[in-house]
């Protein structure tokens, strides 16, 4: 069943320049859907639009069949969707614990639920428990990313959107994150992953979307791209370095 969908969305930041020119995606419930494509293809823009940070000029965003186009960002988390943006979204001068507590904002009146949520993410990422009292800004880049991922999970979202969560991580930490996302899927969480680490993202994926220049370039179940990934990436290189 489709849980999140974008239908022919057109998105621009300003003026008449359409960054997305009629992009469509269907995200299957409980699966890992990856969105890949060259730099500037519009992957981040797609995720931002799915999460209400941008409103499409045309087209619609659906969640469980309900039209949520134009819904305000701050309503998404309580609807069951969480998002980790590509840009840093922690609060550097707040402690790790305070960052996590703010991730519990929508259940702040339920002290017990908050405690349980903290324990839940601490059990996955013991580092966060140890660093609770440290200012988030003093964590390494990778630890900050882990904090962001953990913060998104506190509310047990049904759909988890992540924009290049492993871009700044050491390979070994990146591996942990991928394993963790697979584990989420095992627990029926839907994952939408934008990633430049095409190979690793592909490995954990169920369904693949390829964007290019603001359009759908190709899409299909993982099996469709098995063994053809190199070709696809080669294409991007050709296109990024004209004549190269």
């Amino acid at each position: 069943m489709t849980i999140v969908a974008a239908r022919e969305i057109e998105v621009s930041y300003y003026g008449d320049i359409l960054v997305l020119q009629g992009v469509s995606v269907e995200v299957e419930e409980g699966k890992i859907t990856i969105v890949i494509g060259p730099n500037g293809a519009g992957k981040s823009t797609l995720l931002k639009t799915l999460y209400g940070l941008l409103t499409p000029r045309r087209g619609r965003i659906l969640y469980r069949g309900e039209d949520i186009t134009g819904m305000k960002v701050h309503h998404f988390l309580s609807k069951g969707l969480a998002y980790v943006p590509q840009a840093r979204s922690i609060f550097p001068e707040l402690t790790v614990r305070e960052n996590l507590l703010l991730g519990c904002w929508i259940m702040r009146r339920d002290g017990k639920a908050v405690q349980e949520a903290l324990e839940y993410v601490f059990s996955f990422f013991p580092m966060l428990r140890e660093k609770q009292r440290a200012k988030a800004g003093t964590l390494s880049g990778g630890q900050q990313k882990i904090l962001e991922v953990a913060r998104g999970l506190l509310t047990h979202p049904e759909v988890f959107l992540l924009d290049e969560p492993t871009a700044t991580l050491a390979p070994i930490v990146a591996k942990e994150i991928y394993a963790f996302l697979e584990n989420l899927r095992a627990h029926k969480t839907t994952v939408v992953l934008v990633d430049q680490n095409v190979k690793q993202a592909f490995e954990i994926s169920d369904y693949v979307y390829i964007l290019e220049l603001g359009r759908n370039r190709a899409q299909g179940p993982k099996a469709m791209f098995q063994g053809k990934l190199r070709e696809v990436i080669q294409d991007w290189l050709d296109y990024e370095i004209p004549g190269g």
Binding site: H74, S89, P92, E93, E98, W105, T155
Partner: protein, 290 residues
């Protein structure tokens, strides 16, 4: 000489706490909206005049008048945010538009005060029987002591609020990363409106209390308090609420210690000298991040 110095330190700390409160209000507004409230001192004078009016017309003392000023100013700040900010954000040059808007508001407030209460200085009758208390051979001006005590209590509550409650943490969070709060389910506009309400509430409180330290008020005094608030937040660190407290104390001490060594009229100059030194030595302020 030593006695004079101690006396100046006492005065400086008592006033510094008041300045700190004024600065904290301005800093919360600046931090959350990235707009300097150039009408800050005028709002403060409005509260001072309300205090005057309450005392003159109804025999209510400045401390009792807080019951009126505090909710009123909070409400004004909250509503003002929704009236102004969505429009300002749509402006072609939001920073310039905000600057002009707040300068405009300061003019409107000054004019309003002039229309209602006239240009002559007014003075709020001192509500206490004694003007000062002495202790250990030093004097403590009672009005300033009570005003500072009140401010200190409010500052303490504010710190607890900012560091111990969800809402307070969210305010500190939005100061650091405006984009990130919404994805956590926090309505950034509502949070900003609440912050603006709190910012004005604090300056309203300061305005009601300032008449205990300086009973004479005139409509044009607002500008100098705006300047004090601005210096205080630059000293302490822009957007850092605690920094404003430190900035306020430094400013109060500089002003009062300066008056010991130089003609009193030069005191403000000394405070500004410190500001200039600060800008060269540590432009991010005492508690600010570079």
């Amino acid at each position: 000489m030593a006695e004079l110095l101690v006396q100046a330190v006492i005065s400086g700390v008592l006033l510094g706490i008041l300045y700190g409160l004024i600065g904290m209000g301005m800093n919360i507004i600046y931090g959350v909206m990235r707009v300097v409230n150039f009408a800050h001192g005028e709002f403060m004078m409005l509260a001072a005049y309300l205090s005057f009016w309450a005392s003159h017309a109804h025999g209510i003392n400045p401390i009792q008048s807080l019951l009126l000023t505090v909710p009123l100013f909070f409400g004004v700040g909250f509503v003002l945010y929704y009236l102004l900010v969505p429009r300002l954000l749509q402006a072609e040059d939001p920073e310039m538009a905000s600057f002009l808007t707040f300068v405009g508001i300061s003019l409107v407030l000054t004019t309003l005060i002039l229309l209602v209460w006239g240009a002559d200085p007014r003075s709020v009758p001192f509500p206490f029987k004694r003007v000062s208390v002495s202790w250990g051979g030093f004097f403590f001006p009672l009005g300033r002591l009570i005003s500072a005590g009140f401010c200190a209590a409010v500052i303490l509550l504010l710190i607890l609020f900012l560091y111990r409650t969800y809402l307070g943490r969210a305010i500190r969070a939005i100061i650091q990363n405006r984009e990130a709060v919404a994805i956590l389910g926090i309505d950034p506009h509502r949070l900003s409106a609440l912050s603006m309400g709190i910012g004005l509430l604090l300056v309203g409180l300061a305005g009601s209390l300032v008449v205990l330290s300086f009973p004479a008020i005139t409509p044009v005094m607002g500008a100098s308090y705006t300047l004090v608030a601005f210096v205080v937040i630059v000293l302490g660190g822009l957007g850092n609420p605690l920094g404003a407290l430190v900035g306020g104390l430094v400013f109060g001490l500089a002003e009062n210690l300066g008056a010991v060594f130089f003609p009193a009229a030069l005191a403000p100059v000394i405070a500004f000298l410190i500001l200039i030194i600060m800008i060269f030595w540590r432009p991010q302020g005492i508690l600010g991040r570079p």
